[in-house]
């Protein structure tokens, strides 16, 4: 497991070792969606906002 912090609220996050670049995670504390922008080391950013053409 990898420890990091939420870029929005600063709370501690524990992330699985098999995390992927581009993966979307939720912060359990503030609820924001986060995107993994790199895995070595793990770096997070806030996930992009929903766009009108997103979906299936």
């Amino acid at each position: 497991m990898v420890n990091t912090t939420c870029v929005e609220c600063g709370s501690e996050l524990t992330i699985s070792d098999d995390v992927e670049s581009g993966e979307i995670l939720d912060c359990d504390d503030c609820g924001i969606e986060l995107e993994v922008i790199s895995v070595d080391p793990v770096e997070l950013s806030t996930a992009p906002e929903l766009e009108e053409d997103w979906g299936e």
């Binding site: 992927e20 581009g22 979307i24 995107e35 009108e52 053409d53 979906g55």
Partner: protein, 288 residues
Amino acid sequence: MNVGFLYSQIRADEKLLLTELRSRGHDILKIDVRKHQFSIKSPSPDFKDLDIVIDRCIAQSQSKFASMFFDSYDIPIVNKPAIVERCSDKIKTSLLLTKAGIPTPETTVAFSTESALETIESIGYPCVIKPVVGSWGRLMAKIDNRTAAEAIVEHKATLGHYEHKIFYIQKFINKPNRDIRVVAADGNPIAAMTRTSTHWLTNAAKGAQSAAYEIPDDVASLVEQASKAVGGGLLGVDLMELEEGGFTVHEINPGTEFKALNECVDVDVPSHIINWIESLVHKKGDIK
């Protein structure tokens, strides 16, 4: 095989596919559509050894256009751009389903607010207005009366994007609080679920409850026909049960999500998807 994995975000669905691909020892090139450029002349050298590309872009516009490039480079892509184009545009899907004789909700398209209101009055209440391109139940409206119709049509006309001024209006189907999602590869069902909600929208993204669904022969047949009508590929075919019996196909999803399905059925959905993708490369005869 060498697999290009085209994406913009890795959700649970994409992670399931990546895990399955890695467990089988396939080489994966992750292609973040936001970071690559696509030349009309020739592919990036990064793409030269790819046997196939799996498109999992979250944005339908990215899928539609990025898939055109791989198709142009003669690199097989799932799904093909023509399939994405036909299924991400509700008007095209409705026309193709109707032409193929597949039951689909009665639909009329209008191009002005006045014409849209006339159409709504003609179809009767309740009816449904949907964006031509859209997903997850977004911006769909059930219209119960003239007052709501006037408000919704006016709002759509002022939303800004020209597509909102194309009014896709459908007869409301009084389904039994659920619809059916079948994930199929080239028309062959992999697994299916019902999505149940007391809300008229039964999208999983809107919180509907998923449950495994055993596919009867008539549904399997409709799925096969619907898939054929749009060109095959990996699809999420949505059907509703009709009060008078039978089914209607109301949507075909070219970038189908399957996490909720995988959780409620005994079938290993990502495994079946990768089996099918492997079969495509085998057929082409150059699996590595």
